[in-house]
Subunit: 501 residues, 2 copies
């Protein structure tokens, strides 16, 4: 009997006598991916039931700024309205560079082809996107513009392989409430579409039949274990596993040792574990989004980042996830920002930066700094001599952010992994992270087994799956919510047309 | 029925009517781990049957030099005979630093406690280890000494946390035939112990009973699929997955893109896949051993390694796996060795090094070199000024290998990932690799499920499991064969005492 593998996480469909509920498509998890899947399945004629472990829907998407990374197809309606042109090829070129060997070429292509239409869908929900761009270097605009750069588009080497264009689309509202705005609108549509929702209900096992087809799930509801029958499919949209310490320790021991989990309480990997029990395989489990929100203020970008050898290691004008990834690769995960007086200001998202050295000259600062003797002077001299001519032959920071460090006093700030303290999560130390690994799926959401075959009746989307974003090295804000909602919809559509043989 | 999950890789024990053979312990894979497990299980009173996919036993261990990384307990008999003292604490300190966050503290401790006795066991098989050490920097001694440094013991930062001592134990014979010598001796003992062996026999599915206990396996033997009953346990010792391109691409997309598989034909991950099908989980799947055998000749260590920014990035006196790991982390995986005339000689294990620049002075060489303008001169000046005083404040190469680069002509050799061509595998380009991820096991070899519980009746050892070695960053030669044979024996002992309830 299949319930033995592993015990409790999979149950024989045939052994169930009594079903608490029956539906066509059972969606497990009511965040961005789950709500998108539910709405799409319902609009394709399926009866849909959503179970959510928390007392309310929203998931990690509701906690986020709800940036979506969109473009291609000549441009989204928002990009076009601002006179910005984007092509699908340009977006594919960018994503391919950003995701490197980790990228899923098929998901990249389908996403780039459909992203502009996905923006229309988001607007169709009643979410408003102002036809205005905030083009300064920031994490999320606290004013009401809806378009911004959220990745590495303007930075080396991305600016060599693709034409830079802003692709971060965020609901218009002063402040940082995009996720709530978007999820409220989306969940209203889900309700209006007649989808049933059970809150405080955790999926605990999948029901598989003798042919290995997933036919429903066991859920814990009002302190009882009850069975739900799914005539067409089950979709796992339970989020990543960043809050499951046993899993982060097991699958990403190094990142686990220094990064701080960022997500909602129930990013516990429930769906990943259940999918594995049903024979699904997981990939990319060691990869995480990481955050080093050095900016804003943008002018800190004029500074130079140094490892403990006094070497520069990354062009400082890249996105916070890339900054974090490279920074945490440095010896002992120690890294420092050297900045001159006119650019020195606390970072908006980091508190208590440790000022490790100051000086009216670089030599004076070097005497207090933790670098090998003479290393800093050499690095700064080299940087300055080229920055004066608008060049950075070492790391290719763009001319926009090149300025010789000549005006003292100078400050050296330590932002090492253990010294980072985020304002947005007070009390924490270390870069924030969330997981980018999960069930391997086709773009349709079908969960794959070790032989690369789809497990009948089982779908996944969002961070329960290994989706579009795969590595912090090339991550752009909006890739995760964009992926979760886009491929959530695809999974909903596929699940609605899945049939038992 | 359980055979549905995934199809074909797991079968219901109860559904089998006819058993081709019955044994107490079924060992799948006849390399170092399997042979050690088989011998130990037999010597603990179990009937043992080994199935091996190849036409002869030996596995990757027979192809190797058969170095084993051993020490602790005051020293092995060989270390002691040479007046070298080692302590278990010292060995634990070293291994803990070497494996970092990836290390399994329990396996490290048990291995360090038992490693000296494991050497006695290896000798008891009739393998001869000469009481002589080869203490030059090398990969494997081609003379007949049996003790050598095979890791980073003498290099920073390892020399700060543990007292350096050579721990590489290799069978005595001129040339590099240790693996064959060892496996021939071990396999003779296996035969003498009355173990049955089926060659050309591939395990294709595990048999599990209604309680989820593993009770045997299906094997492909003489073109028939036949069932073998295991009264006590099945041990998976089928090796890693480095020869399975679909798996390396899936689990280690980045390493897959540049490294060259090194192992035996049947390192196809068979046991890993079967263990997963039975509910076992895999860890460390993205990690690999990597090889950058720059030396011998040892004197190349006097050179300095540079990335394409002209920066040094690793103390050059570290072990080949650490050199490879750090080198392949550099931008575009490009790295170069700068060496002066008196130390220039071709590497024994690398052919066709690409000489990218030469010059009678550093400035002359720099004019031909691919570094940003002025970067090389600065790096060399800094290195030289400190090397002259026996110091390397940047990367702490030991004084033994520090010598200013002042005697031209100088040569700059490119050893980038795509430029590396190994003499030992002619025609290949890129560093050699083998996989370090696999089934998560207890030191006893019990395979764990997602809840951290042992799957009854299922054991694994060697590279089918995630064993002692976990990362190239701190790998030492002998960790893999040492682990495979040591924990193979433990698995054999545990399996011999496993009983069906």
């Amino acid at each position: 009997m299949s319930q033995q593998l592993p015990p409790g996480k999979i149950r024989s469909f045939e052994s169930v006598d009594d079903f608490f509920a029956s539906t066509d498509v059972l969606v497990c998890g009511y965040g961005g991916a789950g709500a998108s899947a539910a709405l799409e399945a319902a609009s394709h004629g399926a009866r849909v039931l959503v179970v959510e472990r928390a007392s309310a829907g929203g998931g990690s998407t509701a906690m986020s700024s709800c940036e979506m990374y969109l473009g291609g197809s000549g441009g989204t309606a928002l990009q076009k309205a601002l006179g910005l042109e984007d092509s699908t090829e340009n977006m594919i070129a960018y994503l391919t560079e950003a995701l490197g060997e980790y990228g899923d070429a098929e998901k990249i292509r389908i996403y780039a082809e459909g992203a502009a239409a996905h923006f229309d869908w988001a607007e169709s929900l009643g979410v408003s996107y102002k036809r205005a761009a905030f083009l300064e270097r920031t994490v999320v605009p606290l004013t009401d513009e809806s378009l911004l750069y959220t990745g590495n588009e303007k930075a080396h080497p991305f600016n060599k392989v693709a034409t830079p264009i802003p692709r971060g689309h965020v609901p218009s509202k002063e402040g940082d409430e995009g996720g709530k705005i978007f999820m409220d609108a989306l969940m209203q549509h889900v309700v209006d579409a007649g989808v049933d929702i059970l809150h405080d209900t955790r999926v605990t096992a999948l029901l598989t039949d003798k042919q290995g087809r997933v036919r429903g799930a066991m859920v814990r509801h009002e302190n009882r274990d009850v069975a739900i029958r799914a005539e067409r499919a089950v979709i796992l949209t339970t989020g990543g596993f960043v809050m499951n310490e046993a899993m982060t320790r097991r699958y990403m021991p190094e990142v686990h040792s220094y990064a701080v989990p960022y997500g909602n309480t129930y990013d516990m990997g429930d769906g990943i574990v259940l999918g594995m029990a049903a024979g699904g395989i997981t990939i990319n489990m060691e990869q995480a989004f990481l955050s080093f929100p050095l900016y804003p203020p943008a002018k800190l970008t004029y500074g130079i980042l140094l490892n403990e050898l006094g070497q520069r290691y990354i062009n400082e004008d890249t996105y916070l996830a890339r900054l974090a990834w490279y920074s945490c690769q440095q010896p002992r995960k120690r890294f420092y920002l050297l900045v001159q007086n006119e650019d020195f200001e606390p970072s908006d998202y980091l508190e208590r930066p440790r000022l490790v050295a100051t000086g009216n000259t670089i030599a004076e600062l070097a005497a207090e700094a933790p670098f090998p003797e003479g290393a800093l002077e050499q690095t700064v001299n080299y940087f300055n001599s080229h920055a004066a001519t608008g060049k950075d032959p070492l790391l290719h920071k763009t001319a926009e952010w090149l300025k010789p460090l000549t005006e003292g006093p100078f400050a050296l700030v330590e932002y090492s992994a253990e010294e980072m303290r985020a304002v947005i999560m007070p009390g924490t130390a270390g870069p924030l992270m969330f997981t980018l690994g999960g069930l391997q799926t086709r773009p349709s959401g079908e969960v794959l087994n070790i032989d690369g075959e789809a497990i009948p009746g089982l779908f996944a989307a969002g961070r329960a799956s290994a989706g579009l974003p795969r590595t912090a090295q090339g991550y752009a804000s909006g890739m995760s919510v964009g992926d979760a909602t886009f491929f959530g919809r695809l999974a909903g559509r596929s699940a609605a047309s899945a049939r038992c043989e």
